[in-house]
């Protein structure tokens, strides 16, 4: 472990300790802001629900309303000022920024890349070079699933032509795996394996971090807002990380908050708790703490991979993709 990483738990403790102890005066109106999350309500968004419900956002003067959008809409709406914050794949930030969309990644939420190749137990290759001739289901030629798949193939010295890729644009690739149409699927390692396991379908995973490291999803902010009011993003990130720390310490608190925000989650609370517990592992540092800090080395490795795969052309340098200055510790 590098000395920098050893400092991170200390920084997290300081961040949490530095939160305002009391709510602002009731006479001060809260600033209304919009947070865009991906696709649909989910227990994985528990820290945002908890921060909203338990006053973490109010404590920093924010009234946060949450909306759900696809990744491309999140980028456009945040860039255009129609929403203040979004949570988005880091790989999509690289592509969006290169395409001229003025957004920046300001805080890490997922320390580990959540997408992995998933297959029946004992049938998932240990090395990506062994993926040749496999039938692989993925939602489409977009998003973190596509980036992870191509990165794994690339790391194994393979191309798309050496596997059979079937697309499931409705994100129903699990059905394809269950009925044998494909051998492997891309999916979220904190979600699909647990839901499949609950149905008696045991799985193995091939993850990217040891093979083709990519940075995970995090908070994005538009350039205009960052320039005009950087403390707003700072307050939002601090409040979110405080809620994340509470959920990491007790995932049941997160499930309870998610049930309030999304009552349908109550129908299978045990699976929701398992999913959130697995999600916490993707956020967390080795010591179990959470931190918004961005890992420049991981971003550099991911940038190089995305450029080699042709997703970005290198015209926008790496240091324009994210900003570390808003984090109080830097």
């Amino acid at each position: 472990m590098s000395p920098r990483r050893l400092f991170i738990p200390v920084i997290v403790a300081l961040l949490v300790a530095c939160q305002p102890a009391a709510s602002p005066s009731p006479s001060v109106p809260l600033r209304q802001v919009t947070l865009l999350l991906g696709f649909r309500p989910d227990v994985q968004f528990a820290p945002f629900y908890l921060a909203q419900q338990d006053g973490y956002y109010a404590d920093v003067g924010l009234d946060v309303s949450i909306e759900y959008k696809s990744g491309d809409d999140i980028a456009r709406l945040v860039a255009n000022g129609q929403a203040e914050f979004g949570v988005m794949d880091a790989t999509d930030v690289m592509i969006g920024r290169t395409a001229g969309i003025p957004i920046k990644y300001v805080a890490t939420v997922y320390r580990l890349f959540p997408v992995a190749l998933i297959g029946p137990k004992g049938a998932v290759p240990k090395h990506s070079g062994e993926l040749a001739d496999r039938r692989i289901g993925t939602p489409g030629q977009f998003g973190s699933s596509w980036h992870a798949l191509l990165a794994l193939l690339d790391a194994g010295g393979l191309t798309q032509d050496e596997v059979t890729i079937r697309t499931y644009p409705q994100f129903n690739q699990v059905e394809g795996l269950l009925n044998g149409d494909v051998d492997l699927i891309t999916g979220f390692r904190n979600n699909e394996p647990l839901r499949l396991g609950a149905e008696g379908f045991e799985t193995d995973l091939l993850t990217v971090e040891e093979i083709a490291p990519l940075p995970g999803p995090g908070v994005i902010v538009g350039d205009a807002l960052l320039a005009s009011d950087p403390t707003l993003a700072q307050h939002f990130v601090n409040a979110t990380i405080s809620a994340m720390a509470q959920v990491a310490g007790d995932p049941q608190v997160g499930v309870d908050a998610a049930v309030v925000a999304v009552p349908a989650i109550a129908s299978d609370e045990a699976t929701a708790l398992a999913v959130l517990t697995a999600t916490v592992q993707l956020w967390s540092l080795a010591d179990g703490g959470v931190s918004p800090l961005i890992d420049p080395e991981l971003w550099a490795a991911g940038y190089e991979t995305m450029q080699r795969l042709g997703f970005i052309d290198g015209s926008v340098p790496l240091d324009e993709m994210f900003v570390m200055e808003i984090l109080p510790s830097t």
């Binding site: 255009n80 001229g100 489409g140 977009f142 079937r166």
Partner: protein, 247 residues
């Protein structure tokens, strides 16, 4: 010549209005690209072969879906028009199939039929079927009953009555259904591709929008779909003009 001039003036007015909108709203290219930005992106997409690669797939799905859907629709519509019993038996199912959102059904059809061209052609045919079948049924019933009596008094068989009187009488209405059907076929092909495909203009829209954040390329795909729709509609109108002599 006058018709061509009117078309060109209309197109120019549309492009000017589009350009003005981008100027007035100051919309960046990732929200609303200006026509010249889309044109420049189209040139690059054509030059690289990207646009044709996807257009060829969608065009084949549209034409096959239209052929299957229209042929079945004319046959079923004729049966519905000629038999009240058949209409009573089949109508609820036909209306129900039309009422189910195709967006919800398409992913299931894609899985049931193996996710290949067959599934996409069936989805396209399904969306095309309803307007043409209903138009055919209405058209068959609009045949002049006095002429029908005359055909029968001259000893015409039921098949002759259908092919020589009822279908020719129904043609103007059937072509009305076809005009709607060809435009729906374009939508059907895109919906089918969104249910599961690796190429086609629907896929290109997804790649451009969600994969590359390339809004101008998405507009190129949308404009191409519009051009296909306009072209097919014009083809149907042209065939209609040749086949039917309007009083």
């Amino acid at each position: 010549m006058r018709r061509l001039a009117a078309t060109l003036i209309s197109l120019a007015a549309f492009l000017v209005a589009w350009k003005l909108l981008t100027v007035v709203t100051s919309a960046p290219d990732y929200i609303l690209p200006a026509p010249e930005v889309v044109a420049e992106r189209a040139v690059r997409a054509i030059g690289s072969g990207l646009l044709w690669e996807h257009t060829a797939v969608t065009l084949s799905e549209i034409l096959l879906g239209l052929a299957v859907g229209a042929t079945t629709a004319v046959a079923v519509g004729t049966a519905l028009g000629k038999s009240v019993v058949i209409e009573r038996v089949l109508s609820p199912y036909i209306v129900a199939a039309q009422s189910v959102p195709i967006l919800a059904l398409a992913p299931l059809l894609d899985i049931w039929f193996g996710g290949g061209l067959l599934a996409r052609v069936l989805i396209c045919a399904l969306i095309v079927f309803f307007p043409i079948a209903i138009a055919t049924m209405v058209g068959i019933r609009s045949a002049d009953p006095l002429l029908g009596e005359m055909f029968r008094s001259l000893g015409a068989t039921p098949a002759q009555l259908t092919t020589r009187l009822e279908i020719p009488s129904a043609l103007p209405v059937i072509f009305g259904g076809l005009r709607v059907g060809v435009t729906l076929a374009v939508i059907g092909a895109v919906v089918a591709e969104w249910a599961g495909a690796s190429s086609g203009l629907g896929v290109l829209i997804n790649i451009a929008d969600q994969g590359l954040f390339d809004t101008p390329l998405m507009f190129v795909a949308l404009v191409t779909l519009a051009v296909i729709g306009i072209g097919l509609h014009g083809l149907v109108v042209s065939i209609e003009r040749r086949l039917i002599v309007h009083p």
